[in-house]
């Protein structure tokens, strides 16, 4: 079963708007990662946030992590049509030294020009 659950399942916005996607998980984690997937392609790693971190930035991306609520959010500011893709959160749990990722079902983001 999937650890992460993203919401919304689909998000449609206009270029220039901000896009916020949320992820909830069920068990304790070492870190949480966000990935992007363009249609029919492989996943691209966006950002990793460790369990002792609360917020992280990378360019137009901002990720927050609330371990008490077992949730994370990904904010894309000033969205562009090229940001259209599926976004997945994935968690690494303690004890999984081999780096097993448990993925959510993803949010499909559509940015209209």
């Amino acid at each position: 079963s999937q650890q992460g659950e993203e919401d919304p399942q689909a998000l449609s916005i206009q270029e220039g708007e901000n896009a916020t996607m949320n992820c909830s998980y069920k068990t304790s984690i070492n870190n949480l990662q966000w990935y992007r997937q363009n249609s029919g392609r492989g996943l691209v790693h966006l950002i990793l946030i460790r369990s002792n971190e609360r917020e992280k930035h990378s360019g137009r991306l901002r990720v927050t992590l609330d371990t008490s609520k077992k949730s994370s959010s990904l904010l894309i500011t000033a969205s562009r049509a090229a940001d259209t893709a599926s976004y997945f959160c994935a968690t690494v749990s303690p004890g999984t030294s081999y780096g097993k990722l448990t993925f959510g079902q993803g949010t499909i983001l559509t940015v209209h020009p």
Partner: protein
């Protein structure tokens, strides 16, 4: 920089035929390697992982098998494909964050 190659990119196979998907990794040594399956463009399911040559762990019982004959080569196989094996197969490598290959879209008819 790390690069993951997968081939073929697409494959259409009849039910009952064998399967061999290959993944090779460049730019890193002794990576952990993973095979995922993705159905209908949604979440990924981990099928196999390997921490070294000849070491394979299976996450879910299924019709598939995996092998790692070399440090940077990971192969996904089946002796007889089922309709339910259709999907998008992704290879990934992990020194830190996981790097993914471009994937193979398998359609079993």
């Amino acid at each position: 920089s790390q690069t993951i190659h997968q081939w073929p990119a697409t494959l259409v196979q009849p039910v009952g035929s064998p399967l061999s998907l290959e993944c090779t990794v460049e730019g890193t040594s002794n990576p952990n390697l993973y095979w995922y399956r993705q159905a209908a463009g949604r979440g990924l399911q981990l099928l196999f992982y390997s921490v070294g040559i000849g070491q394979i762990s299976s996450e879910v019982p299924q019709n598939l098998s995996a092998s790692r004959p070399q440090d940077r080569q990971f192969i996904l196989s089946s002796k007889k494909l089922l309709l339910s094996d259709s999907g998008f197969y992704l290879c990934a490598a992990f020194p830190n964050e996981q790097f993914f290959g471009p994937g193979t879209r398998l359609t079993v008819l």
